[in-house]
Every structure is written in C-alpha cells, then in structure tokens.
C-alpha cells in the first residue's frame, strides 16, 4: 500500500525511513513483511495492530535490537542495519525506547533508573547513584519532576505502581534528550486511568520537545487526539496509513473486527 501524499509532506526532514523492510526469525516466522514508510521530524505516529502483528519487531528493528533480514532502516541519517556496534550505540543515545514491561531495575532507586538513561554519554560502568556526576543527578531529579515523581526519587523502583514505573521509564528516556522516541506498547499492562496519564505525558512531552514519536498501541481510541498519524499493521504488513485528524474510527475498527471475527470463526470450526 502506498502512503498518502500528505503524510510524507517533506522528505528532506525525514527522521525515520523504512524501506522494503522484512524480518524472518530463525524459527521461520515472518514477523515483518516488506514494510515501507517515512516519518518526518516531529511527527507523532501511532502504530496499531493486534498482538503478533509485528509492531514490537518493527520497533526493535528501528532501534537495532533486531537486525533486518532484508530492506533498510534509516534513522537520523544512520543506516541501522549496517551500523557498527559503536555507531549503533551513538545512534541509540539519541533514541528513547519505552518498553511494555518498563525495563526498570527493580532493586535500584527511581533516581538511579533515570540516571541509567545518561549512560550513553558517560564512559565506563556505573553502579549506585553516587557514581554519577552531581550535575547529572540534578538533571535526573528535574526529569523525575517532569513526570511528576520527584518525591519518589529515592524509593526503589519495584515499590511503585505500574503507571508510576512507566513514568520513571519515560524520565529515563528524557535523560537521553532524545530526538526520537519509540514506545512499544507503553500502556498494554496498565489500567485505563494510568494508560491515559502515560499517553498524555508522552504526547505532551513530544510536542514540547519537538520529538519524533512512534508509539504502538492496541486500541484506536487511545491514539485519537494524541497522534498525528496512524499506521496499522496486520501479519507484518501495513494495512492502514492515514492522518489521525478526521479519521473514521469505524474504518479502523472494521479492520480489527474483520480480523477478529475471522479468527473466532476459524477457532469454532476447529472446535
């Protein structure tokens, strides 16, 4: 499917360029199948799809946590697939990544978890808050304030609620001062209230700091009002690519429903 003209307004400031990207895992699963799209600077993109549709794999390909089977990913002018370890690390320093499971070190304090975001700028290993320079510690506190958790700075991360943990993870990304933010199902394991909080936080920060965001979600409703553009994935293929403004949510839901019912029917025949 060719992307709409308006969504690739200006290719010269493209931040993420994905071209004919495919990923096949060693067990034979084709998780991403010939996907192409361009994200211009500052755009907030919602990535929709059911579990197993290839969203996570796509995110990891963009960050270089997976390497592509074919096709290319270009982020901030760096070809991720062919980048060397050092180049990839350098690129990741400018790219925040939010995980569904937060990826916090449970035993460490919130402050230390946020400070981990600055590791890319530092040389050598760190262990414990005191091993980071004071300037960075102050900066980390300020980031925690920004996500509303300044008071919990010295609490262990494992004592927080899910929504709070995800906000600490966001603060960790902010520590990188990223140009790109990838959020892989950031609210899939949160309750509705925390989900709204976390997504509002992400979209507010993105607009304030002019970040390019790619955020994968299960539900369309969550994307509306918070994203500029929606990309829908199914079985590793792009099945939808439109601006969010004025989108008919029934069209999107239909996409899911058809998929959903066909699954049910298939299961019913087997049972």
């Amino acid at each position: 499917m060719t992307p709409h003209l308006e969504v690739v307004a200006n290719e010269s400031v493209a931040t993420i360029t994905v071209a004919a990207l495919s990923k096949r895992f060693p067990n034979g699963t084709l998780a991403v199948d010939d996907v192409s799209f361009i994200v211009p600077q500052g755009q907030v993109v919602g990535l929709l799809g059911l579990s197993g549709s290839g969203k996570s794999t796509l995110m990891r390909l963009i960050n270089g946590l997976h390497s592509p089977t074919s096709g290319t990913v270009n982020v901030l002018g760096v070809d991720v697939g062919s980048a060397k370890q050092g180049e990839l690390r350098e690129l990741r320093r400018h790219m925040g990544f939010i995980f569904q499971q937060f990826g916090l070190v449970g035993r460490a304090t919130c402050l230390e978890n946020v400070l981990i975001g600055s590791l890319g700028r530092l040389r050598g290993p760190r262990l414990g808050v005191r091993t980071y320079p004071k300037a960075l510690r102050l900066l980390a506190l300020e980031r925690l304030d920004r996500v509303g958790l300044g008071a919990q700075a010295f609490q262990r991360a494992e004592t927080l609620s899910g929504g709070q943990m995800q906000r600490v993870a966001i603060a960790r990304s902010l520590m990188q001062e990223p140009k790109v933010l990838l959020a892989d199902e950031p609210v899939a394991s949160l309750d509705p209230e925390s989900s709204n909080q976390v997504l509002d936080l992400i979209s507010t920060i993105a607009r304030e700091d002019g970040m390019t965001v790619l955020c994968s979600l299960h539900q369309v409703e969550l994307a509306i009002g918070r994203t500029d553009r929606l990309i829908g994935l199914r079985d590793g293929n792009i099945v939808l690519d439109q601006l969010t403004a004025g989108i008919d949510s029934d069209v999107v839901m239909d996409l899911y429903r058809r998929h959903g019912t066909s699954d049910v029917v298939r299961e019913a025949t087997y049972a």
Partner: protein
C-alpha cells in the same frame, strides 16, 4: 517540592540500613583477614605450593596400573555402595517424608519427630558416621552403605516431603469424597503426583553418593578410597594416581549418564524435545501407540496397553530393581557378622552419652576455630575465582563462545572430584596442615560456586538489560547497571550457602591431615572416646545453625 534545585539532595538519605550493610561487608573482610592470619596463609607461599603440587604430579606420573584388577573391583564396589546406600535412604525416607508432611500426617507431634530425625541425619557428616560404624562393626562396605543410607535421609527425606506437600490438594479431596480411607487417598492422589520428583531426587542423590562413596575407604568403609589411602600412607604415588584417574573417569561418566537420564525420564516437555530430535522413529512409535490405544479401547482391555512410554518405564524399573538385587549379592556384606556385632553398636551408642570433652576442651575449641578459618578462607578464595568463571559460563552474558564453552567443560570435569581426594593430593604435595586443606577446599568451592553463580546470572531478568542497551550503553555499562543490581541478593544467599556446606566439609579435612577439627574427630572414634565425638558433632551442628541464622539475616539485609 518548594526547595530550590540546588538545595535538593541528590543522593539517598543515609539510613541505618545503609550503614548496617557497609558494616556487614567490612565485618566480612575482617573475618577473612582474621582467618587468613590464623592459618598463616601467604600469597608468596602459594606459588611454592603450586610448584609442590606440580612436582607431585611429576612423581605420580606415569600412573601404575599394575593393580588394575583390584582398582576396578574396588571401583565397582564403590558404585554398589553408592547404589545400595541411596536405595536404603529412599526406603527409609519414604515413611519419614509421609510422616513429616502436613498433608499426609495430621498429628503435629509425629510430624515434629519425623522432621527432627530428617534434620539430625544431615547434621552428622557421612564420613564420621562411616568411621563410627567401622569402630563398631569392623571395616567393610557394610559400614559405608549404612553411613550413606543414614546421612542421605537428610536430603532425600526433606525433598520427598517438599514434593508431597507441593501436590495438589483438590485431587486428594476428590479421592476422599468417594469415601476412600486416608491410606487410599495417599496412594491414589498424593504419591502419583509426587513420584516424578521422587525419582529425580533419588537420581540426584545417587550422583552425590557416588562422589561420596569414593572417599569412604579412607576410614575403612569400603570402596576405592582404600587404595588411595593406603598408597599415600606408604608414599607410593603411582598406584594412587591410577586410582584417582579411574575414579575421575567413572564419576564423569556417571554425571553425563545421569544428566541424560534425568532429561529423558522427567516431564512431558523433555519427551517432546526428544521426539523432535528423533522425529522419524518417534513418528513410528506414536503411530504404533495410537493403534495400541485404539485396540485397547475397542476390545475393552482391562490393563493399559504397552505403549512405548510404558515399556520404557517398566524396563527402567526392572533394570533398577535388578541392579539393586545384583549389588546386594555382589557386595560382600557379612550379614551374620553385622548381626552378631549389633550389641557393639549399642555399646558405642552408650559410650556417646553423656557427651563430654574429656579434658580436651582447649584442643577441641582450637580445632573448631581452625575449621571455621579454613572454611572462611576457602569460601573467599573460591568465590574470588568463581565470579569471573560464573560470568563466563552464564549463557545469557555475551562472552566469546570459545571461553564460555571451555569454562563449562572444565568446571564439569573438575566438579566430579570429591574434595577429600583433592585434599589428599595437596597434603601429599605440601605436607600436613590447614594450608593444603584450605587450598583443596578452595578448588571445590570455586568449581561449585561457578555453577551456582552462572545459574543465578541466567535467572536475571532480561527486561532492564534490554532497556539499558537501548539507551546506547556499552556491554560493560549494561552489565554493571542492569545485571549487577539483580545479582547482589542471590550472591549473598549463595555466599552463606557455600559457607554452610564447606564448613561441614572442613570438619572432615583432618581425616587426611588437612587441618581443622577432623583430626580430633577421627582420633576420638579410633580410641573409643565417643563422648568427645558427640561433643564435636553437636558443636559442628550448632555452628552450622549459627551460619544459617547469620545467612538469613544477611539475606534480609541485602534483599
């Protein structure tokens, strides 16, 4: 929140917990420093010692296989002792475990008695039990079997009881609901659920006992240890090396065998894994089994059909039963003699009580303190070596495949050698004293701890690691920021577990001249001063309890 940015604290408040942690780490180092000086260890002497060990191996080489027939027959005897000892322990543990579990025994006093028996048997080292039996019944494999059977109850009974308590209560209730008696309930609902765990426990203990039975001969309780003991006493190293080599090969073979049996015998998952590997053969078997099952259904057969799984299980059962029977008739157990001497055992028991130091209390305390020092230094040195080894062995830490694989093989090979055999070698090379004993124990600690560390490193959650990589951190940064914090708490647990295990080991090093309380312990048995034996055993038990208590506290502190 009203504070200005500059005035905010950027480090955690210094809580008492924080100081307590620092103090306990310092106390740990002070303990090592004390123990180090107590044993007169020195880093410089270490290189001399190393040279001595190398020289000894030169003297040992080439191994003398002239007594090969004797070596082989005694090695087989070792295996039979281990098998019968384990078998005896299983038979004794079964009723004890039923009696100790909350879901099979209601009466708290019976439960308490069974549990106490299980704990007590573990408190006395098997070598000491063997020495006591030798004193009563005279030397022979019978004593070794008895010692292994009694000592193994401690582990087997405990794990059996755990398995019984972990069974699902609902199926038990279902059996009771049809009006079954309690014995029927246990037989039909509890045992079938716990059986796989029983089998794996027994196999695991068999493996440990094979290692243990190799040194029983040092106190005259049968098996290959006899040859090693004799030839070292007479300074004839060449036959000793031959025996050590044979033991080494047998133990390695048993280890590989038991690993593969354990994988094939237990769990559906393992079977499926294997089926995948031998798809064609298993396709054939599955098709045949399906036909068998169908026939059984259509013809209303009243017993289960002989599917491949049932054939395998039955043949395993017949094989093990046959092996045990064969062992009983092969090993030279003089039942009549044992029966006639049982009054001597009774005398020994009477002599053990009341416990008394017999005027040797200062020697006794010195021995115990030395054992403590040996175990502290050995644990320290062993852990120091084991940490990098564990990191290299852990499959989820990205080290070069070559190193990782090499370390695994090396550790697997060394793991089989009982610490007393290493101690025998070191004592022969460096002379009597606690230093060779400590170094020998350190080798065992290092190998065992490396495996434990690798296991806990492999359990580290991958999520934070991925997140740290995603911010552009280097491998070293990722390791320190995401792996180390997760590793601290299992490390502390392992440390005290090691201290517990190797303090027990250090109390028998003295049997081969490796220092500690062991010398006094074995002498007290040899000269029939059994009341001293009792005092020592009780002291060891109390120290082990103290280590356990300290370990629990530390675990909480570093949680």
């Amino acid at each position: 929140m009203n504070q200005t940015v500059q005035a905010r604290r950027t480090t955690p408040a210094l809580t008492p917990l924080y100081f307590l942690r620092i103090a306990s780490v310092l106390a740990g180092f002070v303990a090592v420093w004390w123990a180090w000086n107590r044993l007169n260890m020195s880093v410089l002497a270490f290189f001399d010692d190393l040279q001595n060990v190398v020289n000894l191996f030169k003297r040992m080489y080439p191994p003398n296989f002239s007594e090969m027939n004797r070596i082989i027959s005694l090695t087989l005897e070792t295996l039979w002792i281990a098998l019968l000892g384990t078998f005896g322990a299983v038979v004794l543990s079964y009723p004890l475990a039923l009696g100790a579990s909350a879901n099979t025994t209601r009466h708290p006093i019976i439960r308490y008695i069974c549990r106490s028996i299980i704990t007590l048997t573990r408190a006395v080292p098997e070598l000491i039990l063997a020495a006591i039996f030798v004193a009563a019944y005279g030397p022979g494999p019978f004593c070794g079997i008895l010692a292994l059977a009694l000592h193994s109850i401690g582990m087997i009974g405990r794990l059996f009881s755990d398995a019984i308590e972990e069974t699902n209560d609902v199926s038990g209730d279902a059996v009771s609901s049809v009006g079954a008696t309690r014995r029927q309930r246990i037989r039909s609902a509890v045992i079938p659920q716990a059986l796989p765990s029983f089998v794996s426990t027994a196999l695991f203990r068999l493996e440990i006992n094979i290692r243990g039975s190799a040194v029983l001969g040092l106190v005259g309780a049968g098996g290959i240890g006899q040859v090693i003991g004799e030839s070292l006493e007479t300074i004839q190293y060449k036959p000793a090396l031959a025996a050590v080599l044979v033991v080494f090969i047998v133990i390695l073979a048993v280890e590989l065998l038991s690993t593969s049996i354990r994988q094939s015998l237990i769990g559906e998952a393992a079977t499926q894994q294997q089926n995948k590997q031998r798809r064609r053969f298993s396709d054939f078997l599955n098709r045949r089994d399906a036909i068998l099952n169908q026939n059984a259904f259509e013809k209303r057969q009243l017993s289960p059909p002989w599917t491949s799984e049932r054939i395998f299980r039955s043949s395993m059962f017949i094989f093990v039963t046959g092996l045990v029977l064969f062992a009983i008739f092969t090993v030279d157990i003089q039942w009549k003699y044992a029966y006639q001497n049982s009054h001597k055992m009774w005398n020994v028991l009477k002599l053990m009580f009341p416990p008394g130091a017999g005027g040797e209390s200062s020697l006794l305390i010195r021995g115990l303190v030395e054992s403590m020092a040996i175990s502290i230094v050995a644990t320290f040195l062993g852990v120091l070596v084991a940490l990098p080894l564990g990191v290299m062995m852990a499959r989820n830490i990205n080290v070069r495949r070559f190193f990782s694989f090499g370390t695994r093989i090396g550790v697997l090979a060394l793991r089989g050698i009982p610490e007393l055999i290493i101690a025998v070698i070191f004592v022969s090379a460096m002379g009597l004293g606690p230093v060779p004993g400590t170094l020998a124990l350190s080798v065992t600690v290092a190998v065992f701890a490396a495996k434990l560390f690798a296991d806990s490193l492999e359990e580290v959650s991958p999520a934070p690691r991925e997140a740290v990589v995603a911010v552009g951190a280097t491998k070293l940064q990722e390791f320190s920021a995401a792996v180390v914090p997760q590793f601290i708490s299992p490390f502390v647990s392992t440390l005290f577990y090691l201290l517990d295990v190797y303090f027990r080991s250090s109390t028998v090093l003295g049997i081969v001249g490796g220092g500690g309380i062991g010398y006094l312990l074995i002498q007290s048995i040899k000269v029939y001063q059994f009341k001293i034996t009792t005092v020592i055993v009780i002291s060891i038990y109390l120290i082990v309890l103290a280590i356990e208590w300290l370990g629990n506290g530390m675990r909480r502190l570093f949680k």
